[in-house]
Every structure is written in structure tokens, then in C-alpha cells.
Assembly symmetry: C2
């Protein structure tokens, strides 16, 4: 976490409630400034941008935000478009929808739009993302990998993410798709990265000082591999099963926090 960063991140495990109390999206709306927010919805991850835009515009307007602007950056050409950059510059919040995280990074990486987004974040704008938009938040990103599978070599493909959150790898739809095997593979590759698996309808809110707080109805699993005493990951061929000993795991529901610098959970109250 750079000391210059003032923005907050809201990283949602996908499947956030859109019909009931909308706890997570309501929190997103409030943190972005509520009624006076200027929210930009980035649909780059999805090929169904119209339908996705429509849904989030409806919800965020319902939650009280008057100014909701979708931008559909579906090419690298558009990722250099000054009109889009100007819209982003005015935002108090950015929301990345779901879809395919590799679309986000391959279309936005190294472009003027990405630079504008990062400057927004540094200056205090709230950056939120759900599902693919969550995965793309960290510097190390899971591109894809089989769900409901054993921990094994090359269970996931990885790529550099948007880098808003450093030394972390995010996974989403975590319990609902049985993804601990693939997150263990990601952490095993270099245990300096912390694995954060976020369930559906669950999110972490990351404050500039490097502490995240859990909101939503389910849990976040933190996988800390610093204490790993044995690993075979470098010796295996693709798909061979991993051996890892002494992994530290935390299960955190709403109200609990985690200090990313100290790598310690914070118990409420």
C-alpha cells in the first residue's frame, strides 16, 4: 500500500444482493458520496455491457446516486479516448462489473484510461469491483482455474492485475465454487502474496492504511503462506498434487477486519 494512496477499495466476491437489503451495494453507494456521488461504471469485463450497465444504473439510482455514468471501454483505442478520461476524472467512485478479468487488464493495462483510474484512486476516489472486477484489483491476478479441484501445480493461470492492492491475490465466488484448491496454488507460487478468497454477497473494504473490513452475508478466507515449512511446487509437473505444510488460515465474517501489513486479523469490540 503506497503512502500516497488516499482511495478506498471495495472488493466484492460476486453475486452481491441486488434485490433485498443490498447491504454491499448500499455501502458502495454511501462510501462513494451517496446522493452527491459521481459514479462511473466500467463494463470492460463483460461482453454484455448493455444489460449489465442497465442493471447497475437501476440499482445505484435506486440507492440514491443521481449521477451514474457507464463507460464501455471495449478496445484499447477507447482506453485512450479523452472523453472517457474526462468522465473518469470527475468521478467520486468507479465500479468494475463482472465478466472476464483478462478483458480488464488486457484492454486497460498501460493505457491513459488506466493512468487516469490510478490517479483517481491515489487522490481519494473509491474503486469498487465485483467478481472479475474484484480479481483485477490486486497486483497478482488469478485469470482462470478449475473450481472444485484439488490443490495442484498450475491449477490457476495468473497475470498482473490493476495493482490497486499490493502483495495480495484475490479470488471470488470463493466457497460457492469451491476455489480453495486454486488459491492455495496461487499462494504456493510465492507465499509473500496473501491469498484472499471472498464469498458471494461478501466484500472487503480496504482503507488506505492497509486494513480491510468484511461486509456482507458470508465469509472471507485469508490464506497466509509465510509460515509454510515445506513446499514441493517447484518440483512438480503440471496437474501434480501439491504438498504444503503449516499454512495459516483465517475465516472472517462481516464486522471483522484484517491488517494487511501485520497480517493479523482484528476482532471487533
Amino acid at each position: 500500500m503506497g503512502e500516497k494512496v488516499k482511495g478506498k477499495l471495495i472488493i466484492i466476491g460476486g453475486g452481491e444482493d441486488k434485490k433485498g437489503k443490498c447491504v454491499i451495494l448500499r455501502t458502495v453507494a454511501e462510501l462513494m458520496g451517496g446522493e452527491s456521488a459521481s459514479l462511473v461504471i466500467v463494463t470492460t469485463a463483460t461482453l454484455k455491457s448493455e444489460a449489465v450497465e442497465k442493471e447497475y444504473i437501476r440499482i445505484f439510482k435506486h440507492l440514491g446516486i443521481k449521477e451514474v455514468k457507464p463507460v464501455n471501454i471495449d478496445s484499447r483505442e477507447k482506453a485512450a479516448d479523452q472523453k472517457i478520461i474526462d468522465i473518469i476524472k470527475e468521478a467520486t467512485g468507479i465500479f468494475f462489473t463482472g465478466g472476464d478479468q483478462l478483458r480488464i487488464t488486457s484492454l486497460l493495462g498501460g493505457t491513459p484510461v488506466y493512468e487516469a483510474l490510478y490517479r483517481c484512486y491515489e487522490s481519494g476516489v473509491v474503486i469498487a469491483g465485483t467478481s472479475a472486477g474484484a480479481s483485477a484489483m490486486s497486483d497478482n491476478m488469478i485469470v482462470e482455474g478449475k473450481s472444485d479441484d484439488s490443490p495442484k501445480k498450475d491449477a490457476v493461470n495468473m497475470a498482473p492485475g490493476m495493482g490497486f492492492l499490493e502483495e495480495v491475490v484475490i479470488d471470488q465466488h470463493f466457497a460457492q465454487r469451491g476455489r480453495i484448491g486454486r488459491l492455495l496454488d496461487a499462494v504456493a507460487r510465492n507465499p509473500y502474496i496473501l491469498g484472499v478468497g471472498i464469498d458471494e454477497d461478501t466484500a472487503i473494504i480496504v482503507e488506505p492504511e492497509g486494513i480491510f473490513r468484511v461486509v456482507g452475508s458470508r465469509t472471507v478466507i485469508v490464506i497466509d503462506g509465510r509460515g509454510i515449512t515445506f513446499t514441493n511446487v517447484s518440483e512438480l509437473n503440471e496437474n501434480e498434487p501439491l504438498a504444503l505444510t503449516d499454512i495459516c488460515l483465517h475465516v472472517l465474517p462481516s464486522g471483522f477486519s484484517f491488517d494487511l501489513k501485520k497480517r493479523r486479523p482484528l476482532i471487533p469490540g
Copy 2:
């Protein structure tokens, strides 16, 4: 692990290979005595006993065991049948098939057949079980619980198992059905029990001195909750998400062992 016990346990996570190299079932056959083994197949867990019997008879005969005797104990009356007890007394190995683990414990628990099985185990007979037959091995048994779900209060129903393996709770089809959430719930209830999640086509062989060794194509996850520093399990209502900090987790593939008394993994070589 009682000091009087001489038998081995072979606890299989279900879905063991029955067509290829049959690594696990071949190990079962060898440990039971190979050609000269007397194998009793217990199909109590399943309602399709005939089909299941037929399949395992075919495989174990193919693997060289000449004497394979199925016993279909489908009532408590049969669990007192002297003819069945006499068959069990002659066994060098017992194999529990899959199905519903609650059928095993509710039909055999407290019966003369169970006593005969336990005496066999004490005297050196190999006891194997797959899927439901694996779950029933330990003293604490997971009866049922949702797969691919977050760690939450009452994620599983538990019951006393056959008690061959003490201070352990087994789960099977572990990665393939996304069951870490429910095993965390089981361990959270009383962290003195060790959670052992066994993948499909993977097994542990438990030696009398309390050391198990992994065989098969995937992994075993051991969840050690002794070091848990915070838990909210006693404060929650049903289905509320758990908070658990500082769980120790090990991922063990074939060739790796685990000392159940010291709760430490053993690295080969």
C-alpha cells in the same frame, strides 16, 4: 489410538480408480493379504447392495483375492446374525462401501456385528472404507452438510461414528465437492478433533501407532484447530457465518505421512 489395536485402516475419499491402475484398491488388496486374503465386503451403507457387491467382487478378484464375501447387513436383526459374525471372524480384511454413513452407524452401532468388527480390528485385520464407509471410520462423523458453501454454524450434522479412529473427523469427496466450509464447522465445534479432508481417488492408510500415509492421485487436507485464537461458533444462530482465526492447514499428496499423536506432517526422504 488404543495401544491394543493392531489393525490398519484404509480410509478412501470415494471415487477411487476402478478401471486403470487401481492404485488404491490394489493397495487395499495387498495389505489385506493378497491372494490368500479373506475379504468381507460390507454394503450396509447402500440401498443398491447387489450392484455395489458385484462391482467390488469383480475388482478384488481381478486384483488377485480369491475369497471375497459380501455381507448385506440391512437391518439390526441381521447385525446380530451369528452366520454373519462367523464370516467376519474369518476375515483378514473388511471393506465398507459408499452410500449413506448414517445407515452404517444406525444399523451396526451397538450390535454383535459391530463388536465382531472391532475385535477383528484390534487383532490385526485391515478395515477399509470408501466415501460413506470412510466417514464412518472416525469417532466423530459428518452425517451430511451442504457442499460448496461458506463456513457457517451448523453447516454439518454430526453423529458418533464407528470409532476406529479417535479424535479425528473425516470428510470425503473433499476438493471435488468443495467441502472445506463444512469441515471447518466440524473442527470449530471442538478443535481437539483433527479435520481430515480426503479427495476422490485418494486415501490414508492409518497404522496402529497413529501415523497415516497418503496414497492415490490427489491430496488430503488436514485442518488443525488447536491453535485457534478466536472463535464465535458458540454465539451464532444456525447458518450464520463463522469467525475463526489461526487455523493450521496442511496439504498432503501421495507419499506424505502425518503423525496423529504429534499432529505433525512427515516429509518423505
